[in-house]
């Protein structure tokens, strides 16, 4: 059987908003799944985020292409009934409300699994479905604070720094996607439906590839602390200045020997103060001074990176701005910057989804829906509602639509 992509035929009912949930269902839609996004009358709050053009949000477009849209009042019995009927027909239900909200709408896992025992329900939240913090309002940076990520970002004696992007939301969306396809596979093998509890906090905390273990295994002697431009535990790994620009150098493995040769400090090869990355970190000021001395003799950052990487096989990179990245030939050749064409907004560039399948090398052409755009189509075709019944729901305000 020919399929348009790996998730062709998988049906998803999506109650999510903002970024984490929508990114997950974006990945699913891009893999061919049929996604119905359910929004309240006021719409997903992401519809109000910039850039806005003729009422249309570029931000919303990025995270919602390829989804059908059903706009209804989830507080009404009729609205809930429509959702219950749709739940009977889908494989996956996704939501990212604050824990407890789905229960108010009579669509918590208890209710959903009674309606369709084979369904996979994924709840994405900032802090998880239970525990003392579960009901706090959650955003990416709240998760970053409670997972110790913000505490690890910035200069040691200054404020922690915010990253200018929602990597918690996006990567949690990808984790949710991973959990959902796992459960789909398990269901296909005869395992039935199940509930998935995916939290930003859990995902962000798992990014400590070293800190938790180092703190624990050192008996608390090594305390992870933000260290600004240099790594907390190993050296040399950090940011250096070259003329007016910055670059990063990572020479913690065999590349250390290449680096000291370049610096003319072969004598460090036998020096116990530089025997391994951990002790080198205790003497890193001396290393940094040598690196900076060398950098001061190089014309610019491009040349420094060339000498390090091409001539000496020392991993290094220039610090690029977002516009630099978008213009970079490597990004162009791999099509990492994707231009999508929205019906109102026109062309807009977004990051392409990073999952590449050899069987489906082409990206599907997808549009982000208007609010309530597919109300009629879904009710008529999937639930068999009559035109009269649909009009009545429109008249009573259960359904609504807007071209935004």
């Amino acid at each position: 059987m020919t399929r348009k992509h790996v998730l062709d035929g998988v049906k998803v009912l999506d109650f999510s908003h903002f970024v984490a949930g929508p990114h997950c269902t974006r990945l699913m839609a891009e893999a061919g799944a049929e996604v119905i996004k359910v929004e309240a009358q006021i719409g997903d709050a992401a519809r109000h985020l910039p850039i806005i053009k003729e009422g249309r949000s570029g931000y919303f477009i990025q995270h919602n292409r390829g989804k059908k849209n059903l706009c209804l009042d989830l507080r009404t019995t009729e609205g809930q009934e429509i959702c219950h009927e749709l739940i009977k027909t889908v494989d996956v239900v996704i939501e990212n409300f604050t824990p407890g909200v789905m229960k108010k709408f009579n669509m918590d896992w208890d209710a959903v699994s009674k309606i369709n025992p084979d369904v996979i329900m994924c709840s994405i939240s900032c802090l998880g479905q239970e525990g003392p913090l579960a009901k706090l309002p959650g955003f990416d940076y709240i998760g970053q604070a409670y997972s110790g990520i913000l505490g690890m970002t910035g200069e040691a004696d200054g404020y922690p720094a915010l990253s200018g992007m929602a990597f918690g939301d996006i990567s949690t969306g990808a984790h949710a996607y991973g959990a959902i396809v796992t459960a789909l596979y398990h269901k296909a093998m005869g395992g039935g439906g199940q509930f998935l509890d995916i939290a930003l906090l859990d995902c962000l905390f798992s990014y400590h590839e070293m800190n938790v273990q180092v703190y624990d295994a050192s008996g608390g002697a090594q305390v992870p602390q933000r260290s600004g431009h240099q790594h907390a535990f190993v050296a040399p790994l950090g940011l250096f200045k070259c003329q007016e620009d910055y670059l990063i150098i990572v020479a913690i493995g065999a590349q250390w020997n290449n680096l000291i040769k370049l610096l003319g400090r072969e004598d460090w090869a036998d020096d116990p103060r530089f025997a391994n990355p951990l002790v080198r970190n205790e003497n890193r000021d001396e290393i940094s001074a040598e690196i900076e001395r060398w950098l001061s003799t190089v014309s610019d950052v491009t040349e420094a990176v060339r000498i390090l990487v091409q001539e000496n096989h020392v991993p290094a990179a220039p610090i690029l701005s977002v516009p630099d990245v978008m213009a970079h030939p490597h990004m162009q050749q791999r099509g990492i910057v994707q231009t999508v064409k929205d019906r109102i907004f026109g062309e807009v560039k977004i990051p392409g989804a990073p999952l590449r399948y050899s069987q489906y090398p082409e990206r599907l052409e997808l549009q982000a829906p208007f609010l309530g755009e597919h109300n009629e189509e879904i009710l008529r075709e999937q639930l068999g509602y009559s035109p009269e019944k649909i009009s009545a729901l429109q008249a009573s305000g259960v359904l609504s639509e807007k071209n935004v």
């Binding site: 990520i149 720094a161 590839e209 938790v212 990492i336």
Partner: protein, 403 residues
């Protein structure tokens, strides 16, 4: 019959090292797959990363739970034959060498596809399998540089800073895991095997949930730039000082009204400079200063946080890693997992963040010593005789070490 685990019977041959690949295969192992990790004779270089006890790396343990270890000299034809034989009967191959290395070992996708057309092969690299940067040495922070992430961290007038954790590696491992499982699902429904080409740079670039679109759609009028402790385009949003602590506070939409009232600054609600999101963005210094002034008057960060959280204004204390590990919420959700290593004994690591109702518990697992399962795999899986194995050992094709 319901399967005993999520990936009951799925066989994975894992050529990966350091973090991104190993994190992916660790997740597969935790969900029930049989993972054989193939390491060079001197081991995955992650075995050299701290902390160490009797030569055993806790870093390695964290990322390699549940895998069998086989150590082989992949430059030797006999070793390549062993791999080919294992791959014939495998479902998944994962590798994260620099592009081109697998080809040198006669294990690029074209070769492996010929051996096993149903195979799902996932290559994880820093820059992808092609393109001008593909052959550069890659690490998480190198990928972050080329994805425009590092440039977005730090004070605007100072050098960028980085987060001391490899969210690029770990989350790329998760992306790879998701792509692999999607490809397995596709194969189960009648599709063929396939090759997955994932890279850190592209995954990290996708984390710009706003910047790319903002820069493009504003025709360059808005250029994303690091903004230090506060957010570049939203206010109030950022890190504030309160007594001896830093607090994160965010109040968009209706939360702003609540915050202004909580701070006793109802006057700001009728001030046109703060009328809506766009206006508050224009005057973000004044908005953020109002929050700081209020926090300065409260002094006690616990009290400030209680007031904010009672009013349901998004807020959090900036916690250190030890504080996170001790937090009641972390404990309630078992986010810190204690594994028992044969050398280390009990060791704390972050729990893998996927939570399935059908399989709520992660199995007890250990990480293999280097080459620990050479004999078992060669004799039980491939039917090699003891003599045969002895020859491989003598010729230096395999070895084993208690690390």
């Amino acid at each position: 019959m319901a399967p005993q685990s999520m990936f009951d019977g799925i066989k994975v041959i894992d050529f990966s090292h350091f973090v991104a690949g190993p994190h992916c295969t660790k997740m597969l192992a935790e969900h029930g797959a049989d993972v054989i990790k193939i390491e060079p004779l001197n081991g995955d270089p992650a075995r050299l990363l701290p902390m160490h006890k009797d030569g055993r790396s806790a870093f390695y343990v964290q990322h390699n739970l549940g895998k069998k270890s086989m150590s082989l000299d992949l430059t030797k034809p006999a070793a390549q034959k062993i791999c080919h034989d294992l791959i014939k009967d495998a479902d998944v191959v994962v590798e994260n060498f620099s592009p081109g290395v697998m080809k040198r070992f006669n294990m690029d996708w074209a070769s492996l596809k010929a051996i096993n057309p149903n195979l799902v092969m996932c290559s994880i690299s820093c820059f992808g399998q092609d393109g001008p940067l593909a052959s550069l040495p890659g690490y998480d922070y190198i990928g972050q540089s080329y994805a425009g992430i590092l440039d977005m961290n730090g004070e605007p007038d100072r050098a960028p800073v980085f987060a001391d954790l490899t969210f690029g590696d770990v989350s790329s491992g998760t992306h790879a895991y998701a792509a692999i499982v999607a490809a397995l699902f596709h194969r189960f429904r009648g599709g063929e095997g396939q090759h997955l080409d994932l890279c850190l740079q592209e995954i990290l670039f996708s984390y710009h949930e706003m910047n790319v679109q903002l820069y493009d759609a504003s025709a360059g009028a808005y250029t994303p730039k690091r903004a230090g402790a506060t957010h570049g385009v939203a206010a109030p949003a950022g890190i504030f000082r309160c007594g001896e602590r830093y607090l994160f506070v965010l109040a968009l939409g209706a939360q702003w009204d609540k915050l202004a009232k909580t701070m006793g600054r109802e006057d700001m609600l009728s001030d046109p400079r703060f009328a809506d999101l766009a206006a508050r963005r224009e005057n973000k210094e004044a908005v953020n200063q109002a929050v700081q002034t209020w926090l300065d008057a409260i002094v006690d960060p616990d009290e400030a946080l209680a007031i904010l959280q009672d009013a349901r204004i998004p807020s959090a204390p900036i916690l250190s890693v030890p504080e996170v590990m001790e937090h009641p919420h972390t404990r309630a959700r078992n986010m810190v997992r204690t594994v028992v290593d044969p050398v280390w004994g009990p060791l704390k690591i972050p729990r893998t963040p996927l939570r399935f109702s059908t399989f709520p518990d992660i199995p007890e697992q250990t990480a293999g010593f280097l080459g620990e399962h050479n004999h078992e795999i060669l004799s039980d899986v491939l039917g090699y005789s003891a003599e045969n194995i002895a020859v491989l050992e003598a010729e230096g094709v395999i070895n084993s070490k208690q690390v």
